[in-house]
């Protein structure tokens, strides 16, 4: 079991589903089990998306510039 800080509250969570999690990682915890690690680069894309589609608005195929599907 690992200790996870939820905005000031420390709780225990299982890392069995996330064996490569490290100290200081941001993780998603669901019912006491950590299930995903936040991808910090992908996390920026919501803030940049409008800018990206704005610049590319006139092109017919914008798919390759949209947030990647993987």
């Amino acid at each position: 079991m690992a200790k996870v800080l939820f905005g000031g509250i420390m709780k225990e969570a299982s890392l069995e589903m996330l064996p490569d999690a490290n100290i200081d990682d941001y993780v998603l915890v669901h019912v006491g089990v950590a299930i995903s690690k936040v991808d910090e680069e992908e996390a920026q894309k919501t803030f940049k998306y409008l800018e990206e589609i704005g610049e590319l608005g006139d092109l017919t195929d914008v798919d390759e510039y949209l947030p990647k599907t993987n």
Partner: protein, 364 residues
Amino acid sequence: MKYMSEYRDPELAKKYLEEIKNTVSRPWSIMEVCGGQTHSLVKNGIIDMLPDSITMIHGPGCPVCVTPLNLIDKAVYLASEKEVILCSFGDMLRVPGSQKSLLEVKAEGADVRILYSPLEAVKIAEDNPDREVVFFAVGFETTAPANALSVVHAHRRGVKNYSILASHVLVPPAIKAVIDDEESKIDGFLAAGHVCTIMGNAEYHPISAKYKVPIVVTGFEPLDVLQGILMVIRQLEQSKSSVENQYARIVREDGNLEAQKVINEVFEVRNQMWRGIGEIPESGYAVREKYAEFDAAKKYNVTIDEAPENPDCISGQIMKGIKKPFECSQFGKKCKPTNPLGAPMVSSEGACAAYYHFSGLVEA
């Protein structure tokens, strides 16, 4: 970055709304599958700020709401047994069974406990060797790994007095069922980000291709939902239909392989009854024979008669997106969170509860 409050920025939300308005040229109906997204849409007022030409249809994505009445009656029956400690998530306790809810049997003296995690239930079983601990394990794919893990822990530690009453539901078959329903008319979907965190996106590609619908895997914060809606609309306006991932900071294309492994170890796919909707093929999980001793359905072979639903509750139509909560004659009148007639008024992810708490339509 905290990866939460940043996704609630009102200024960027306004820009997203602006872009949505500029992109839409005709009416579209979009279903958000997950109750968490319904909650976000209603609580944050997004639903009132979207252009009139966009109709958000609230999907069946509330596990508590679709847990069969018969199974709730079974849990109530087990909880009434002297040796049983019945544990579940908080929402499950207030859902009305045909006679009583778990909360009511608790008030009558039954040992019913609200837990944060099924892993705690295994510990309670170890601490109470002369009692039987049953965890009422409801949930979508997101919750399945934790429930499966509790069984693996109990097995590994030789705990004999632990079992789960499983009512697991799976999202992709439900999306197909919703599209196939003749009454529903949905142009695009926001898929549930946390379900895909576990299962990945692979199951959605064939659905998107077969039915020619855009499916965007979407998160739960206001900006996530707005971006997801914009991505669906952009596809629709360009006559495209593919799977995109708005929630890539959390969801990997393949999902969480460790979690899938433990699910497959403990569960196998079966046909599943959805309360208010009916049976959907291959849309649930049963405990595998290997772990039969941890399967409460087998351990306590009780037959509970099927009881009729409350005739005043239209939850089936609500969960298929055919009717909105305020179109129900009982909404906010006989049916309130303090006295729910059906599950969508109970759960924090239920559409009726979300409308009751946040829409301001109750007094209208």
